[in-house]
């Protein structure tokens, strides 16, 4: 196993020079306080509504074609009186050293100036390589061109592409919202305030477990939370350098 990881690290060095992501304009990140998450899945629902995700139904779930860009993982420890439950929301980690970017044969996934790992739908040819390389299992594939029933197509978000068959997709950190706020700030000739941009999941979280912000700004709420002692990242040993930071659950 470690041999494989070393090989991947070697390939990463060839692909991108180290620290290239520090030269970008922004470094958007999400901090998730696992201590506050109670697993209500409101974020999942809002993600479906915001990003035009199709609902695949029972058979689709059985075939592993479910479209949750954001999922809640459950960890249950212990026997009945002493049960400890942990919920971890997992979305695309927007890794700085993303393994999926090495794999793609057509460069449909790359890093843009917002410091986000992005997926270009109309360039994607659907080789599935990125999904295979992704250690977090967050990429979703369009097996069909999904259709919405008559009244439901009215609720599609006009700012987001409705993806077609044969295209890989994943969490975008709600790029359309980032775009919208940046647009407004540009019109007002001012800088974007901290906390002005909110992803759909952060907005809908009832306990405020999810915080979105710019890590490049040292005064932002996210930077302060990220410096917390409880902070950790998923699969840190793979050195993918995720942009999603989790704050550990404290259990007595």
């Amino acid at each position: 196993m470690s041999g494989v990881i070393d090989k991947i690290k070697e390939r990463l060095k060839d692909f991108r020079r180290p620290g290239y992501y520090k030269e970008f304009d922004h470094h958007y990140a999400i901090v998730i306080d696992v201590d506050r998450c109670n697993g209500c899945e409101a974020c999942v629902v809002s993600c479906y509504a915001e990003n035009n995700l199709p609902v695949v139904g029972e058979q689709g779930c059985e075939d592993n074609r479910v479209f949750n860009w954001l999922r809640i993982e459950r960890y249950i420890e212990g026997e009945y009186p002493d049960v400890k439950v942990k919920f971890i929301p997992v979305m695309c980690q927007q890794c700085d050293a993303a393994p999926c970017e090495i794999g793609c044969p057509v460069y449909a996934t790359y890093h843009n100036q917002d410091g986000l790992n992005v997926q270009v739908y109309n360039r994607c040819v659907g080789t599935f390589t990125c999904a295979t390389y992704c250690p977090y299992d967050v990429r979703r594939f369009n097996w069909f061109s999904y259709k919405w029933d008559k009244p439901l197509d009215e609720q599609l978000n006009p700012d987001v592409t409705v993806r077609e068959m044969g295209v890989m997709e994943k969490c975008t950190f709600c790029i359309q919202r980032i775009r919208g706020v940046n647009d407004k700030a540009k019109d007002g000739k001012r800088k974007v305030k901290d906390g002005e941009i909110q992803t759909a999941c952060a907005q809908s979280c009832p306990t405020g477990a999810i915080t979105f912000g710019d890590l490049m700004d040292p005064e932002s709420k996210v930077s302060k939370l990220a410096a917390s002692k409880r902070g950790y990242k998923l699969f840190e040993n793979l050195e993918t350098k995720p942009s999603v930071i989790y704050l550990k659950r404290v259990m007595d």
Partner: protein, 170 residues
């Protein structure tokens, strides 16, 4: 043997030509579709010199420039030229309370994010992309609206992040 190869080669070229011709024709057919009402931009924007954004009001403040609603047309045509047969068609739509089913001339695919606002505020003129609309009776698409055509300008004016994929494809 050589003859056989030549025949196969000719066949392949023929098929490629037919497919290429079909694609080309499909891209070029609807350059100037026939509209339900013979609306003339030449009269409105040319002769009468009405500015574009008098009717397409959202161009400066939204992603779409906006097709003017029937009320905007009727604002003038309740009084002006009410006897003309084309205006009578317009009045019929107004009485039925229905939108006019215009055919879209400049149609971008769903995966293209094109804000009119950003382009207008950067000082681009409508005519840069839409051509000299003021001289057209029926609107004709003059630009290819292909990605290479967009990038020409993005390169020329050195747009910030103008050549990153996700600037337009989100």
């Amino acid at each position: 043997m050589i003859l056989k190869k030549l025949v196969i080669l000719a066949a392949v070229f023929f098929v490629a030509f037919v497919i290429g011709y079909g694609i080309d024709a499909a891209l070029r057919t609807d350059l100037d579709p026939v509209q339900p009402i013979k609306f003339s931009h030449k009269i409105h924007a040319g002769t009468n010199e009405i500015p574009c954004q008098f009717c397409h009001i959202y161009a400066e403040r939204s992603r779409v420039s906006g097709v003017p609603n029937v009320q905007r047309c009727m604002g003038c045509h309740k009084i002006i030229k009410t006897e003309s047969p084309e205006i009578k068609k317009l009045t019929a739509y107004w009485d039925k309370r229905e939108p006019i089913p215009w055919t879209k001339v400049h149609n971008l695919p769903d995966y293209v994010y094109f804000p009119h606002k950003r382009h207008i505020r950067a000082g681009r003129k409508c005519a840069d992309c839409h051509g000299d609309i003021a001289s057209m009776d029926r609107v004709r698409r003059v630009s290819s609206l292909q990605m290479g055509w967009c990038l020409q300008c993005h390169k020329k004016y050195d747009v910030k992040n103008g050549q990153a994929c996700w600037t337009c494809h989100i």
